[in-house]
C-alpha cells in the first residue's frame, strides 16, 4: 500500500511541540506519513496522540514545529479532501442523523449520499433518530459514516473503533484498508493494538509526548525475536543475558523466561539452554510486544 514514488509525504510533521503551561504534551515530534499508507499512532493514555491530531489539523496551535500536507501548509480548503473523526464525538446532539448527513452534503462537495446511506446501513443506524438518543457506539458509528462519506484523500481518525462492538470494529478496519487501497492516506490511533497490527503498515509509538519508535510494522516485528524458555522451578537469573548487547530485555514470570533478542542472536540461545530449561521456542514478536518494550519500562 505504500507508494514508493518520490511524491511528497501525505502528512509531514517536523519538530511538532505543544506545551500547556509547564506540561509538554507533544515534544519535538517528527513523522513522515507516505501517501496511501495506513499509519497507526500508538501510546498510553496521555502520550500526546490526541494533541498531535489537534495540532495537525489546526484545532490547537503548536508551540513550535510545522505540519505539511502533500508539501503544503494547512488551508481551510484542504478539509474538502480531509476527514477527521475526533476521539470524543463532536456531533450536534440535537440534530437527527439525516440532518447531520444533509449538513455534510451542504458543506462538502465530495459528499456521496449513496455511500453514506450504505455505511449507515452497515452500522445499523436509524438516521431519523436524534444523535442524543444514539448510544456511544452508535454516535461513533455516525461519525465514521460522515468521515467516510466524502471519499477523502486523507483520513485522520482518533480512536475510530471506540465504543463499537467487535463486528463494527471489524467494519471500521475494513473501511480503512479499503480507503488506503483506493489511494487514501489513513492516520489513526487506537488502544486496540491487535487492530493496529491488522490494519497499519506503519506505526509510531508515543510516550510522554515523544516518539520512541516508528517504522514499518513487518520490519519492526522482524527486528526482534522472542526466545521463550520454561523451567521446572522458577526461571533462573541469567547474568550473561543481562549483559548481552543483542538482548533487548529479559522478562521472568514464575517458570517462564522471555528474552527479546535482536536478529539471530545464537549467543542468547546458548546462554538460555545452558540453564537447562524444560522447553525452548523462538517466537515472532507481535505489535503488543513491541509496544510494551517501547513504553513498558520507561
Amino acid at each position: 500500500m505504500i507508494n514508493s514514488t518520490a511524491a511528497p509525504a501525505a502528512i509531514q510533521l517536523s519538530n511538532l511541540t505543544k506545551r500547556y503551561g509547564d506540561v509538554t504534551a507533544v515534544d519535538g515530534l517528527s513523522l513522515t506519513i507516505p501517501p496511501g499508507s495506513i499509519f497507526g499512532l500508538l501510546g498510553t493514555n496521555g502520550a500526546g496522540k490526541t494533541t498531535t491530531f489537534k495540532c495537525l489539523l489546526g484545532l490547537a496551535r503548536p508551540t513550535d514545529g510545522e505540519v505539511r500536507f502533500n508539501g503544503e501548509a494547512l488551508q481551510p480548503s484542504l478539509f474538502e479532501r480531509l476527514s477527521y473523526m475526533p476521539e470524543r464525538v463532536a456531533l450536534y446532539e440535537w440534530m437527527t442523523g439525516e440532518q447531520h448527513l444533509k449538513l455534510t452534503r451542504l458543506s462538502f462537495e465530495r459528499f456521496d449520499g449513496a455511500r453514506a446511506n450504505e455505511l449507515a446501513q452497515l452500522f445499523g443506524l436509524n438516521l431519523r433518530k436524534r444523535i442524543r438518543t444514539f448510544s456511544k457506539g452508535q454516535q461513533s458509528a455516525m461519525a465514521i459514516v460522515i468521515a467516510f462519506s466524502t471519499h477523502p484523500d486523507i483520513l485522520v481518525l482518533d480512536e475510530p473503533s471506540s465504543g463499537l462492538d467487535p463486528v463494527h470494529q471489524r467494519h471500521v478496519l475494513d473501511l480503512m484498508i479499503d480507503a488506503a487501497a483506493g489511494g487514501a492516506t489513513v492516520l489513526f490511533s487506537s488502544h486496540q493494538i491487535g487492530q493496529v497490527e491488522r490494519a497499519a503498515d506503519r506505526v509510531a509509538i508515543l510516550h510522554r509526548g515523544k516518539r520512541v519508535l516508528d517504522g514499518e510494522v513487518e520490519q519492526l516485528k522482524a527486528e526482534v525475536k522472542i526466545i521463550e524458555a520454561t523451567f521446572q522451578g522458577d526461571a533462573p537469573a541469567l547474568p550473561a543475558l543481562d549483559v548481552n548487547a543483542g538482548v533487548q530485555r529479559v522478562m521472568r514470570q514464575g517458570r517462564l523466561l522471555r528474552a527479546y533478542v535482536r536478529g539471530a542472536n545464537n549467543g542468547a540461545m546458548h546462554q538460555i539452554q545452558a540453564a537447562s530449561p524444560t522447553s525452548v521456542r523462538v517466537l515472532d514478536q507481535n505489535l503488543e510486544d513491541i509496544f510494551l518494550a517501547a513504553v513498558g519500562d520507561r
Binding site: L59, P76, F79, L91, M95, K102
Partner: protein, 279 residues
Amino acid sequence: MIYKEYLRISRGIIWLSIVCALFLALTGYGRLTSHSPASTIDVEIGADAGTHSAQAAHHAVKHVHHAVHPGPHQPVIPWSLLFAIAGIVATIFAGIYGASLSNENQGHLEVAWTKPRSRSRYALIDMAADYAGATCAFALTLLTAVACLAIAGLVTNLFIDRDAWLNLVRFLVLPLAWLGLVQAATASLRERSGAVSGGLWVAAVALLGLEIADLPRMWHGVVAFLNFFNPLNYSGYRTDSSGHLAASIADLQADILALVLLGVAGILVALVQWRKLEA
C-alpha cells in the same frame, strides 16, 4: 452551508410562532365573546361618548366595542410603539441565539473547524444567522401585533408618528447591539453561556435603574460609564401628550449610531476570541 444555522434559528422561530398564534387566538376569542349582536352596544369613544354610556347602563349585559373611526380624543397607537415591542422581543431572541459561538465551543469545534471554510467566515455566518433570526422574531412580533389590533378592531387607531422610520431602524439595530454584547461576553466560554446571556439582561436593567438612583457622584460616574456599553440605554421610549416621542431626531440618530457601533464592536471582540480558541 447555513443549514445548521437555519435549523437552529427555525427552532426558536417555531416557538415564537406558537406564542404569537396563542396571542391571536386569545384576541380572537376576546373579540368574539365581546361581540354578541343581542346585547352589544357600539360606543364611539369621542366627544359624545357620555350620552352612549348612559344608554349602556340600562342593559343587563354590557359589551363595549370601540368604533373603527377614532374621534379626536380616541387613544392612538403610534407605529413606533409596535416597533419598540417588536424590538424588545427581537432583542430577547438575539440573547437566546447570541451564544452561538460558545455553543460551538461546547464540544463541537472539531466538527465546526474541519469544514472547508475559514474560522472567521464560519463565525461571521453564524452571527449573521443569529441576527437574521432576531430580525425574523421582530417581523413576526410586528405582524402579530398588527393582526391582533385588526382582530380587535383597533387597526385604524394606528398612525405613522413623526419618528416612525427612525424608530424602525433603531429597534432593528437594538438586537444587533445586544447580539454583539452577548457574543463578546460568551464567545470563549465552554459552559454557562446561557447564564451569562441571562445575567446580561439583569445587569443591563439594573444599570439603567442605577443611573436614575441617588448615588454618590463617583458611583454615578461609574454607572454612567458602564451605561455607555448598555444597549438598553439607547432604546428608551417615551411619548409626549400628543403621542410623539419625547426624544429629538438628533438623539434618535445618535442612538442608532451607538447601537450599530456596539453591535459591530461586540462582533469584532467575539471574532478575536473565536480565532484564539483551541479545541
